[in-house]
């Protein structure tokens, strides 16, 4: 009896010990397939959250002096003295290449591999990816592009910025080519930007091309013809075309800027202040956006707005960036109609690919300012007053002065879009003649204002093809003249 028991036990143990018993390594927590739509949605959200958050918006804004830390009174000295946390350097690079970039690349590969190919979906992902690559090279300069996201290259080589920008034009052209409005297959629900409106995607694609050419123009004037060609094409033509990543006044879907203060400061902005480099331009023209952009300091008199220098102690009367701009459902703006109008004003003022014409420029300029103000909900009457009595008429100015005014208004419009603001300030003139004319902040290392971010360690230590001679933070990128 006992022997039978033992033998049964032995057999039962051995019977179970076959290969199938060990075949349990397929994860129940994830899938081996995915739809391009869902990858696109993840990529877009990771991108929007990075842009609005503490790894991109804040360090760039502090460093490029669009907003102020207020020193120990506020956020504390660091980014405003060019001390960018290695985590921000790395996280932003990670977002562009991996959490956002790679998922778009996977979405493109899956969409094009489908039968029939989901060409529209692939094109939507390509246009967004092109915008992300553009932003990334505006921060870091030369970087992996032609060999990135490719299993054949374990150590992607760094491409020159000029090659990247030209490559992006081709990528966008290919995407436009791929779009077929008759094909109903496209990313619709998961497209948080345009909900699958392909006409808007085409206008965006052309507008991004224009932005890239405008960035290149000072260094490569030959793109003037391409700019001229685009002017006749399909560009962002109304505020309805604005390329925005939406946040929502819903729990855990709020704008990251709002969440920072909601989570850690009882919903008040204690840490981010008005910077004189923006505020003084606005104050000079009595800009009606002042009470929209800024909140009075807690101990300031009503209506008393004032800004603080970069890397300088604020006090309880210093104005903060308004909780209106930091509202929970404030969208992350990536391309706006007002921005397009400022480009058009600049193109006509400078005569890029077209004859210089300050009257046309002035028309676009006023419309740009009006659109910028409408976007932040300034009452129409106030806008009309401002345009009539405060905004200078650039049509009567010298071309140089007119361009200056355009750059000033463009810079003010981009205060809360710190990355575009950084591109604009570097692009707005030769070194030393930029708008605004930024000075080395108090306490920042000598050498000059910050013109690029260092490459993150995450890439440098892993990539044997990373440049060995690393540029200084004050070295210009290729496009920066």
């Amino acid at each position: 009896m006992k022997k039978i028991f033992i033998i049964t036990l032995i057999i039962s143990v051995f019977v179970t010990s076959c290969e199938s018993w060990l075949d349990v390594n397929t994860s129940p927590n994830s899938s081996t397939t995915a739809a391009p739509d869902d990858l696109f949605a993840y990529a877009a959200t990771a991108y929007g959250a990075n842009r609005a958050g503490g790894d991109n918006y804040m360090p760039i804004g502090f460093m490029n002096q669009a907003i102020s830390t207020g020193g120990s009174f506020g956020w504390g000295y660091a980014e405003d003295r060019y001390d960018i946390s290695p985590y921000s350097l790395g996280n932003t690079w990670k977002a562009y290449y991996s959490t956002s970039g790679n998922n778009l690349q996977l979405a493109i590969d899956i969409a094009e591999g489908m039968d029939p190919a989901a060409n529209n979906s692939a094109a939507q992902a390509k246009i967004l990816l092109a915008e992300m690559v553009y932003e990334c090279t505006m921060i870091y300069g030369d970087m992996p592009y032609s060999q990135a996201w490719n299993d054949d290259y374990a150590y992607p080589e760094f491409d020159a910025q000029a090659d990247i920008l030209n490559g992006l034009i081709q990528d966008i052209d290919a995407a436009i080519e791929q779009i077929d409005p008759a094909d109903p297959i496209r990313i619709i629900e998961s497209d948080l930007f345009y909900k699958g409106d392909l006409d808007k995607w085409v206008r965006l694609a052309n507008s991004i091309k224009l932005r890239i050419y405008m960035t290149m123009y000072d260094k490569d004037p030959s793109v003037a013809d391409d700019i001229a060609a685009l002017l006749n094409g399909d560009l962002i033509a109304s505020a309805d075309d604005n390329f925005l990543f939406p946040f929502f006044d819903e729990p855990q879907n709020e704008n990251i800027k709002f969440k920072l203060f909601d989570r850690y400061a009882n919903g008040q902005n204690l840490w981010i202040f008005a910077n004189k480099n923006v505020f003084d331009f606005m104050a000079a023209y009595d800009d009606p956006r002042i009470p929209v952009y800024f909140d009075e300091g807690p101990e300031a008199a009503e209506g008393e707005f004032k800004a603080v220098e970069t890397a300088t102690e604020a006090d309880a009367t210093t104005s903060t960036i308004s909780m209106y701009l930091y509202r929970p459902d404030a969208p992350e703006v990536i391309f706006s109609y007002s921005e397009m109008l400022f480009f058009l004003a600049e193109i006509h003022a400078r005569g890029i690919g077209v004859a210089a014409d300050l009257n046309t420029a002035a028309r676009y300029f006023e419309e740009a300012v009006e659109q910028a103000m409408l976007f932040c909900e300034v009452p129409q009457a106030d806008i009309d007053d401002f345009l009539a009595s405060d905004l200078p008429d650039i049509s009567t100015m010298s071309a140089e002065d007119a361009l200056y005014e355009i750059h000033v208004q463009h810079w003010i419009d981009l205060m809360d879009r710190t990355l575009e603001g950084w591109v604009q300030s570097r692009r707005s003139g030769d070194a030393g003649n930029e708008v605004p004319n930024l000075q080395l902040p108090n306490g920042a290392p000598a050498g000059g204002i910050m013109r690029r971010w260092p490459y993150p360690d995450d890439e440098l230590t892993g990539n044997i093809n990373a440049p060995s001679a690393l540029p200084q933070i004050y070295d210009k990128l290729w496009f920066d003249k």
């Binding site: 032995i10 143990v13 959200t45 790679n102 990135a148 290259y153």
Partner: protein, 1042 residues
């Protein structure tokens, strides 16, 4: 009444004895030096009849009959049992515990072997040693008692976790914790961190130290612990024990005696080390009072006595320092450890039932921990050939109010306590955490920092755990030389956790809560055949063949509800938004193993083992791996006739090679439905975002052809005992090389992926272990003094990483702080340091007078050069005095707490130089390759400390981690047996004890250098950030045996 119950129990359980009384007498001597032993307890087994020997070692006792058994016991000596068998004169020689060469130790897969036959070092800890000073956690009670074992208590949280490293960390990839085995059943020792459903350990955000699961085992139920330190010792366990094994044997009933043991301790805990604060300056900025700042940079209190200021409650007050406001926040913690055990047995059966109860109230107000455990261990010989044993252990633990540590979480407590301005009274804070409307009164003028008592009273973290560990063992003696046995066991638990943020919590004004349901299960079966062949009188061969299956299953559900509608109602229907996540994993392992042991006469022993494992987590074509071991023991004193000086000498030699597998599900390219998206400062958002879900590809690029990891070790040792065993020295040298480690190495992010799983790297750990035993005094008058020293020097070197990889990040902290591995180095602490010139002078900024910084500097090793425990035992006539000194030498320690209290101007040293010009030591860079001594003063001490101690400037907060601690001290008294004559009590021991009594020497200001924030499962250590201070305990203990 009680007595009657106990007697009925005895009657029911002990077998009837025939009564025919007779007298026995004799003399008890020490077997080593023939000295007379007074005070030896002589007890008739199974009765309460007993006596003790007089000053001449003489005893006389009346025994009930000639089949009685006498039990002789004496502290520090092995207990001896002698059958009366009609003799009236029984002289006895007792041997010292330490000298028992035939001591049997438990080795891998439960095989018991005599210690002298082992070819590798196994450290055994008896229950006496374990419980010399009682601890609620079995892990903590091992501190300083075993060579080669390093234990770090992570925080002063009640029931908090401890990290164990045996002979240095071998693994780059994470867990370096040993396996715990209870009565042959490998149990779970998971440490699950709250913020990651996959349980990958690494986090900064507001984590609560919930303890590791090995601490569920009650030390009072443990009979002995064997520590298997190297692959040779653990080879039969396979991959699971690559970091060593802690083999626990629980108490069993003894034949014939029915015993009731009651053990009660009460303990009082206070913070071991609190920061030293300045008490001269109020809160503010640059000398001006400002409620906005919770710091010490305001005006000098003595200079503004003529002014009134608003305090945090809005009252107008004259400023006054409260020097003890931080100390007074903490309360005296209280612990009650109670256990009882009833055990007994007869010729065929034995049993033991144990119950233990542990009640702890922490030093943080309203934090508490409860543990209840019931164990049953019963065996029976069913026939001459078949025997069975079962053991069961049911545990329930619960805790409430354990504090959050780290940063970026509203519930983090210590930063708020240490950050109290010196002018704030803790009584005021305690009594004014809500206003008359029930709204919170914040500590700062901006109303952004929660009142700590709001958190303590409202946002209590709770957890509840129910666990069952059970195993059944059947053994069948097929023939006199062949035994077949099977042990099947399981260990499973359910844990529920809840973290809440009440509505009105600053930072979570609308309230939120998260619940965690965690289920873990381990299943293990070992089938074994053991054959013993006596080839000749001199030669014995023992062959063991075994088969093992092992399964580990995990199921987790984590749900967060945000934006609560009704206050104080933590149900998901009451939340406007919920975010659920769930996770499942299953891992299986099958192994076959064999062990051939040859013993020749009594001096040469050789063991050869082999095991082959098949793991579900590796690719099918690579999932099988074999590892062999050879060990040998040679007792060379068998060839020496004169044993006057060297009484015993043994050489040990072993070599082993073991493999190990991977975490489950690492091979396929997988897409995951994302639960959240990343944003800096722990501001992650949740999917669906605007109703849209997100799916992401993997961050770690999978490698489908992974191979098993490999560790090879060589160990040589000797056990020498001198002067009739008065001195014992045990040396072990070991060299372990771990290669082909499965880690995810960072790859260029531009590939689209963070990292790739590869087999790379080699880490070596070379070390020396020494155990020294000194019987300093062993006097016939009963005075004994023993010293036991254990020492471990371990040198860990990263021999290589992958080609092209110059460093590998093991753990990441914040703001540039990292733990990294680099070839040719030990695991090190890296971060932002001071910029220095070629001669090492610190370069000072010419404008600010502050130190310039440079990233990526290495500050030192995270592990010590050596550790040592010195244990003293003094005994005299039933009075024992034990004390244990614990020493760590080397390594570095980063303290975020120090950084915080310095940069906020609260630490004592920040009060200096405020009224003076301060020029930091360093040089000015002249820009032409030359330097002049720094002459630029800092603009203020506030700027200086804000920069010097900034969390991002790692170097300012790095210290030498060495320490000397008085770890344990105990004074106990065993009541003489004659006093207990005519009572139902057969033994009574009373004791006064203390743990973590005194940091004799350390180099870290303000905090205990032992704190660690990474948790026991991470490679990283030596970093502290807002940790709960560790505690010092005083207690009394009473142990009663019936």
């Amino acid at each position: 009444m009680k007595r009657i119950i106990f007697f009925s129990l005895f009657l029911a359980m002990s077998s009837a004895v025939a009564f025919s009384q007779m007298k026995v007498n004799g003399t008890v001597i020490s077997a080593e030096d023939n000295s007379l032993l007074p005070g030896v307890s002589v007890l008739v087994r199974g009765t309460q009849t007993g006596t003790i020997t007089d000053i001449n070692g003489f005893y006389e006792i009346t025994v009930p009959g000639d089949d009685a058994v006498l039990v002789f016991s004496f502290v520090g000596m092995d207990q001896k049992e002698v059958e009366v068998d009609g003799q009236s004169l029984i002289d006895v020689g007792l041997t010292s515990e330490y000298l028992n060469l035939d001591e049997v130790v438990v080795t891998a897969v439960g095989i018991t072997r005599s210690e002298k036959s082992l070819g590798y070092k196994v450290s055994s800890v008896s229950d006496e040693q374990l419980n010399s000073v009682r601890e609620s956690s079995v892990v903590n009670s091992l501190v300083g008692k075993v060579s080669g074992l390093r234990i770090n208590q992570q925080s002063g949280t009640v029931g908090g976790s401890s990290k164990i490293i045996i002979r240095g960390a071998n693994s780059l990839g994470g867990n370096n914790q040993p396996i715990f085995v209870v009565d042959g059943m490998p149990i779970d020792n998971t440490f699950f961190e709250a913020d990651n459903i996959e349980g990958t350990a690494n986090s900064i955000t507001g984590n609560v130290d919930v303890g590791n699961r090995a601490s569920d085992i009650s030390p009072d139920d443990i009979a002995s612990i064997s520590v298997l330190k190297g692959p040779a010792a653990t080879a039969l366990y396979g991959a699971r024990a690559k970091n060593g094994a802690i083999i626990i044997t629980t108490k069993k009933g003894k034949k014939g005696t029915t015993q009731v043991q009651v053990n009660t301790s009460y303990r009082w805990d206070t913070p071991l080390k609190l920061p030293n604060f300045q008490n001269e300056y109020a809160q503010g900025s640059y000398g001006n009072y400002d409620l906005k700042f919770l710091n010490g940079w305001g005006p000098k209190i003595s200079e503004v006595q003529d002014q009134r200021f608003l305090d945090f409650k809005g009252d107008s007050v004259v400023l006054q320092a409260y020097p003890n406001n931080v100390r007074d926040f903490y309360q005296t913690g209280f612990t009650a450890l109670n256990s009882t055990g009833i055990s007994g047995g007869d010729e065929k059966s034995d049993f033991r039932i144990g119950y233990s109860n542990n009640m702890q109230n922490g030093i943080v107000p309203q934090s508490q921990y409860r543990k209840n455990g019931v164990t049953l261990n019963a065996g029976r010989k069913l026939s001459d050939k078949l025997s069975a044993r079962a053991s069961l252990n049911y545990i329930k633990t619960s805790s409430e109010g354990r504090p959050a540590q780290g940063s970026n979480d509203m519930n983090v407590l210590t930063s708020k306590i240490n950050g109290l301005p010196r002018t704030v009274s803790i009584d005021d804070v305690r009594e004014n955490y809500v206003d008359e409307f029930g709204d919170q009164i914040a500590l700062d003028g901006d109303k952004s920092v929660n009142n700590p008592f709001w958190i303590i009273n409202n946002n209590k973290f709770t957890n509840d755990l129910e666990r069952m560990i059970g195993s059944a063992h059947l053994a069948y003696q097929v023939t006199p030389w062949l035994e077949i046995s099977n042990r099947v066991g399981t260990d499973f638990y359910n844990e529920y956790r809840r973290q809440i943020y009440k509505k009105g919590t600053l930072g979570r004004m609308n309230g939120s809560f998260t619940t965690y349901n965690l289920y873990n299960r381990v299943f293990n079966n070992d089938l074994m055949a053991t054959a013993n062949f006596d080839i000749s009188e001199d030669l014995n061969i023992r062959v063991i063949a075994g088969h093992n299956i092992f399964e580990q299953e995990r199921r987790r559900t984590i749900v967060t509800g945000t934006d609560l509608v009704m206050d104080d109602l933590y149900r998901f229907g009451n939340a406007k938004s919920t975010s659920p996540d769930n996770y499942y994993s299953l891992k299986r392992l099958m192994g076959v193993y064999g062990d051939v042991g040859i013993s020749f006469r009594n001096f040469l022993f050789v063991n050869i083992t082999g095991r082959n494992d098949w793991s579900s987590t590796l690719p099918v074509e690579n999932n099988s791996y074999f590892y062999p071991s050879v060990s040998s023991s040679f007792i060379f004193t068998e060839f020496i006739d004169n044993k006057d000086i060297l009484s015993f000498g043994k050489l040990r030699l072993s070599w082993a090679n073991v493999g190990s597998d991977e975490q489950p599900y690492q091979l396929d390219f997988q897409y995951a439905a994302a639960n959240s998206y990343y944003a800096q400062f722990s501001l992650n958002g949740n999917f669906p975002h605007g109703g849209v879900v997100g799916v992401t590809g993997p961050r770690i690029y999978p490698t489908p052809d992974l191979e098993p990891q490999n560790a090879s070790t060589f160990e040589v040792g000797t056990d020498l005992r001198f002067f009739n065993n008065r001195i014992g020295i045990d040396f072990t040298y070991y060299n372990t090389m771990t290669t082909n480690q499965i880690i995810s190495i960072d790859i260029p992010l531009s590939t689209g992926y963070f990292s790739r799983n590869v087999n790379v790297g080699a880490v070596s750990n070379v070390g020396l272990e020494a155990d020294l035993h000194l019987a300093m005094i062993r006097k016939p008058n009963g005075v004994n003094w023993n010293i036991n020293v254990n020492f471990n020097k371990n040198t860990q070197i990263v021999e290589e990483l992958s080609e092209g990889l110059t460093e590998y990040q093991l753990s990441s902290g914040w703001s540039g702080l990292q733990i990294k591995a680099a070839p040719g180095e030990k695991f090190g602490l890296y971060g932002t340091g001071w910029r220095r010139n070629e001669s090492g002078d610190i370069i000072i900024n010419p404008n600010t007078g502050l130190r310039e910084v440079a990233p990526g500097k290495r500050f030192g090793d995270i592990y010590p050069d050596w550790i040592m425990g010195i244990n003293n035992t003094l005994s005299y006539k039933g009075i024992d005095l034990n004390f244990l000194v614990d020493i760590r030498q080397g390594g570095v320690f980063y303290s975020g707490t120090v950084g915080n209290i310095r940069s906020t101007g609260l630490a004592l040293e920040t009060a200096e130089n405020r009224d003076q010009v301060f020029i930091d030591a360093g040089v000015q860079d002249m820009g032409d390759g030359t330097y002049r001594p720094n002459d630029v003063p800092v603009q203020s001490m506030q700027d200086f400390w804000a920069h010097y101690s900034a969390i991002s400037n790692t170097e300012g907060n790095v210290f030498d981690a060495s320490y000397v601690k008085l770890r344990e001290i105990r004074l106990s008294y065993n009541l003489p047996k004659n006093v207990l004559d005519n009572t139902f009590i057969s033994g009574l021991r009373m004791g006064v004890e203390a743990r973590n009594l005194w940091i004799i020497k350390d180099y870290v200001p303000h905090v205990d250098p032992e704190l660690n924030f990474f948790g026991p499962a991470a490679v990283g250590e030596g970093v502290e950030f807002n940790s709960i201070p560790s505690v010092r305990s005083f207690g009394v203990n009473l142990m009663l045996t019936f």
